[in-house]
């Protein structure tokens, strides 16, 4: 469902190139949750932005459901639901107006949009909030609106960039349940997160990114075998802080 091939992106600062993503390749199938993990600046967010077409890669390509971002950006965008930690809401629109607005942006017919809205508001417990202005919602409520917004056009692919950042335990649990539901519905999901404990529970496969490069990829069992570490936290420390890991070993 998602194919990433040799994806490369450099940024320039003062004329000097900074490699954000370097020849990154991986595949995510339908019904699979792929965890894109790595420290800050590893290139996780840049990768997600290139997949959805918000950034243009310098080299390589991203393909969603057979459509390349560079050739058919609108076809890719219409098949992707994006959730980002920095997602905002329109303060002067009601929840209903905002969700229907995005349904319209994605070309969902009005009747189908209303059906989707009804289902999603029941799923995310938004029914009582539908006519409330978004500015009046709490952080957790806004996060639920954002999750519903990303699903309003029933995309087969979901990209979640730090979806639990800034959320409390209950808010995070909503997201975890949400991702499980997406997998059950057969969607291809990429989750980028710092919360390694959550990632262990959520993801089917993992890609460990460091300085823009994919250092290791596989299921949790495969990674355990390859690294000799039991948890993702230990794997991270052995990869990215070898000195600290050996000192505490």
């Amino acid at each position: 469902m998602i194919t990433i091939h040799e994806l490369t992106k450099r940024f320039y600062s003062g004329g000097c190139p900074i490699v954000a993503v370097e020849r990154l390749s991986f595949v995510v199938s339908a019904g699979e949750v792929y965890g894109l993990l790595g420290p800050n600046g590893a290139g996780k967010t840049t990768t997600i932005r290139m997949i959805v077409g918000l950034l243009r890669p310098d080299h390589g390509y991203a393909e969603v459901a057979g459509f390349r971002t560079s050739d058919a950006p609108d076809d890719v965008k219409s098949r992707v639901g994006l959730v980002s930690a920095s997602d905002g809401v329109y303060p002067w629109l009601s929840v209903r107006e905002m969700l229907l607005f995005f349904a319209d942006l994605y070309g969902v017919p009005p009747r189908q949009a209303r059906d989707n809205l009804r289902q999603l508001s029941a799923l995310f417990d938004l029914t009582q909030l539908l006519d409330r202005r978004c500015a009046l919602l709490s952080t957790g409520q806004k996060q639920r609106v954002t999750l519903a917004r990303a699903l309003i056009h029933t995309p087969p692919v979901m990209l979640l960039d730090e979806p639990t950042r800034g959320l409390d335990v209950l808010g995070s649990q909503v997201v975890i349940d949400y991702v499980r539901r997406l997998r059950d519905e057969g969607k291809a999901v990429i989750v980028s997160t710092h919360r390694l404990d959550e990632a262990e529970r959520l993801c089917d496969r993992f890609g460990l990114l460091h300085q823009g490069q994919l250092r290791m990829e596989g299921t949790l069992a495969e990674l355990r075998t390859a690294t000799g570490c039991q948890t993702l936290v230990d794997m991270f420390r052995s990869f990215f802080q070898p000195a600290a890991a050996s000192a505490t070993a």
Binding site: L54, S78, G88, W92, L93, G107
Partner: protein, 730 residues
């Protein structure tokens, strides 16, 4: 899976996008405060301030109250008598002058402040003149503190008897606030009367002595009626007010809908949706324009009500605020709002935050005041270069329109060039809005916008094409009007200069821009070879189009869509006569071949390819044809429909053949045939082939022309059947 975004009806989606933007803006209390509350507060306050200004400077109202301080009761009585006597003398002089000039045109009172002052002085008993006694020591303090307009202190002690006092020479010292209009007005009021009183007294003394009094340098005023605009008209203030109205209305929504999206965190999700950025920006533009217009309308209503209730309407608009004035102001408002909404959107699209947007806008707002102040300059003429200079053009148009002295060609040029600037600004905003520099704050500067692309581009970007359009229009209009003024240039040289201007403007500008944008010539200009059969069928098509073009020209003239004055018709006739003195080759090269090559390169090449990259094929043909029509209408009034028709045919050929070469052939033969017919007009008439320029062609000719067009178009289709029609242009 939902429908692909592009499959939804365009206008329905645009309408919903606009509604969402308007909901966001109009529900915000800050907008309502700018929209409604501010005009309700500002205009009454402005009116009060303005009235005070008028009262103290140029007003002739009778309810002015001058408070004058004197140092004794007796001095007050003497001063009052002297002022009454002087006032009576002034009244007598005014009456005499009016009797003498009663056959002359009456001048509005407000145009002659001194005459107004004299009339004011005519009141023997000024109802609002108050003389109060104050101590000489405190007089200056009272004047400085505005308790008195003026203090009149005696410098020579008069007789105790007031009657005696009138006969005794007096010296008054007048204390006033320098720079204060009201104090200086009181000073002039008193001085004028005392001077008149002195003159009467001197005359009486001379009469008593038996000396014939004669002024060594007497003067007499004779007012002349002025048919045009007054040297300084208060109507000249209106453009400045329009600038302020529309800018203030557009600023907040422009920032909120662009920089505000990023601050709210909604920009990324918006850009991640499958909607073209141009569509998003169009919706935002319509929303900003709507709010700017609403603000301006509320302002206008507030201004109208205040002007009427305060009596300022007559001073501002001469005969008051008639329906015609209101309609003119509304049309101007739309033009100003359209311009500012686009410029502000382009500017704020680059901002990453409200703060940054405000930093960009403040210098712009200050800059925008310059043309508004410029048009207050007395005697400033609306010229060709002004008609195509952004903002200056609409400010000057507003001034001349409200003063009733607008020149049609300049007005059309001002409106058309403004529309082109608006299109360029929106296209630029669409390019900037949502780029990664704005979305993620990647290091970027304004120079990124003009940086040459690394890879060759199949067509010019829309902002580049719109910039080209605005530049071509402005340059051609300024150079064309400049050439029209140089009447001493011989016709032969004039034709050469026209050809050079055409080549430089329609060839040079697109070429320069395509180099900047690294545009591939073959696709960006449609410079592709075609087979001989296509050239042949294009040549035939070029020869058979003229009857339909001629008929459309006549019909549009008869329908009143084109207004050709007798002077323009005479000028065209004399030009044809002058051409007959020149070799036909020169005329064909400069008026047929050069325009066909360079106009086709720009309209069916540079602009067409760029439009095709964002529009459907049929819309590309229509839009490029309309632009072609507008250019010809401004430069050759009355040609809009006929040129648009030709533009549609040429656009279709360009689409069909993917090349500008057949378009050049059609254009050259069409122009060449008409020019040759004009050149040999006398010979054709002699042979009985008299086609009057303002007569309809026989129906059989028109039917034959339609058949020929269909046949030649079919030939052209057949000749291009082996090649793929232009669908993607890339």
């Amino acid at each position: 899976m939902s429908l692909a975004a592009g499959q939804r009806p365009l206008f329905g989606r645009l309408r919903r996008l606009v509604l969402k933007e308007l909901r966001e803006i109009l529900r915000d209390r800050r907008t309502i405060i700018t929209l409604v509350v501010m005009p309700l507060l500002i205009y009454p306050l402005l009116a009060i301030a303005f009235q005070r200004f008028l009262l103290t400077s140029i007003s002739t109202e009778e309810d002015i109250e001058y408070v004058i301080g004197v140092d004794t009761e007796l001095a007050g009585e003497i001063l009052a008598r002297q002022l009454r006597a002087g006032g009576a003398e002034l009244t007598r002089r005014v009456d005499e002058s009016e009797a003498r000039d009663e056959t002359q045109v009456k001048v509005p009172e407000s145009t002659s402040p001194l005459a107004a002052a004299q009339q004011q002085g005519g009141n023997q008993e000024h109802p609002l003149l108050t003389i109060v006694a104050v101590s000489a020591e405190e007089a200056a303090q009272h004047v400085a503190g505005s308790a008195l307009h003026l203090a009149v202190l005696q410098r020579r002690v008069p007789s105790a008897d007031p009657e005696q006092g009138l006969q005794t020479p007096m010296t008054w010292q007048l204390l006033y606030r320098a720079g204060s209009p009201s104090s200086e007005a009181a000073l002039h009021f008193v001085e004028a009367r005392l001077q008149a009183y002195n003159e009467v007294g001197l005359n009486e003394q001379l009469e008593r002595l038996g000396v014939a009094a004669a002024m060594p340098a007497a003067t007499e005023r004779r007012p002349i009626a002025f048919s045009g605009a007054p040297v300084f008209s208060l109507a000249a203030l209106i453009p400045l007010i329009l600038v302020l109205m529309t800018v203030t209305g557009a600023v907040y929504p422009a920032i909120d809908l662009t920089a505000g999206e990023r601050e709210r965190g909604t920009l990324e999700t918006l850009i991640a949706a499958p909607v073209p950025r141009l569509g998003l920006l169009m919706a935002k533009y319509i929303a900003v324009l709507t709010v700017a217009l609403l603000t301006a309308l509320v302002n206008l209503a507030g201004m109208t009500i205040t002007a009427h209730t305060s009596g300022l309407a007559a001073s501002l608009f001469g005969g008051g605020m008639s329906l015609v004035v209101v309609v003119k102001v509304l049309l101007l408002l739309a033009l100003f709002a359209a311009f500012f909404s686009a410029i502000l959107l382009a500017l704020t699209s680059y901002a990453r935050s409200f703060k940054e947007a405000q930093a960009y806008i403040i210098p712009l707002m200050l800059l925008c005041l310059v043309p508004g102040v410029l048009c207050l300059m007395p005697g400033l003429e609306f010229t060709g270069w002004m008609a195509v200079t952004p903002l200056v053009n609409i400010v000057m148009l507003a001034r001349d329109l409200l003063e009733g002295s607008v020149v049609t060609s300049l007005a059309v040029a001002a409106v058309c060039s403004t529309i082109f600037y608006v299109a360029a600004a929106i296209a630029l905003a669409a390019r900037i809005f949502g780029t990664d520099a704005i979305l993620y704050g990647s290091p970027a500067t304004w120079s990124d916008l003009v940086r040459r692309p690394v890879e060759p581009q199949p067509a010019a970007s829309l902002p580049l094409a719109m910039l080209g359009l605005a530049l071509m229009f402005s340059c051609y209009f300024v150079l064309g009007t400049g050439l029209a003024r140089s009447t001493e240039l011989p016709m032969g040289r004039r034709l050469v200069v026209i050809g050079l201007i055409t080549a430089v403007v329609f060839g040079g500008i697109p070429l320069l821009l395509s180099m900047i944008g690294r545009v591939r010539w073959s696709s960006g200009f449609g410079i592709r070879p075609v087979n001989a059969a296509t050239v042949f069928s294009a040549a035939l098509l070029g020869l058979v189009l003229w009857p339909i073009a001629h008929e459309i020209f006549l019909l549009s003239h008869q329908a009143g869509l084109s207004v050709l004055g007798q002077e323009q018709i005479r000028a065209a006739e004399s030009m044809i006569v002058a051409w007959q003195e020149l070799p036909l080759g020169l005329i064909l090269v400069t008026m047929a071949i050069v325009p066909s090559v360079f106009e086709e390169l720009s309209f069916r090449g540079f602009l067409f390819s760029s439009l095709r990259s964002v529009l459907a094929p049929d819309r590309t043909v229509v839009v490029s044809a309309l632009l072609f029509g507008v250019f010809h209408e401004v430069l050759m009034p009355g040609r809009f429909l006929a040129s648009t028709f030709l533009g549609v045919v040429l656009g279709w050929v360009r689409l069909r053949t993917s090349s500008v070469v057949p378009c050049m052939v059609i254009h050259a033969l069409h122009n060449g045939l008409l020019l040759s017919a004009s050149y040999y007009r006398d010979e054709l008439v002699a042979r009985g082939w008299d086609v009057e320029e303002r007569a309809h062609l026989p129906a059989t000719w028109l039917a034959a022309a339609v058949v020929c067009i269909v046949l030649t178009a079919s030939l052209l289709i057949a000749s291009t059947r082996s090649t793929k029609p232009n669908v993607s242009e890339s």
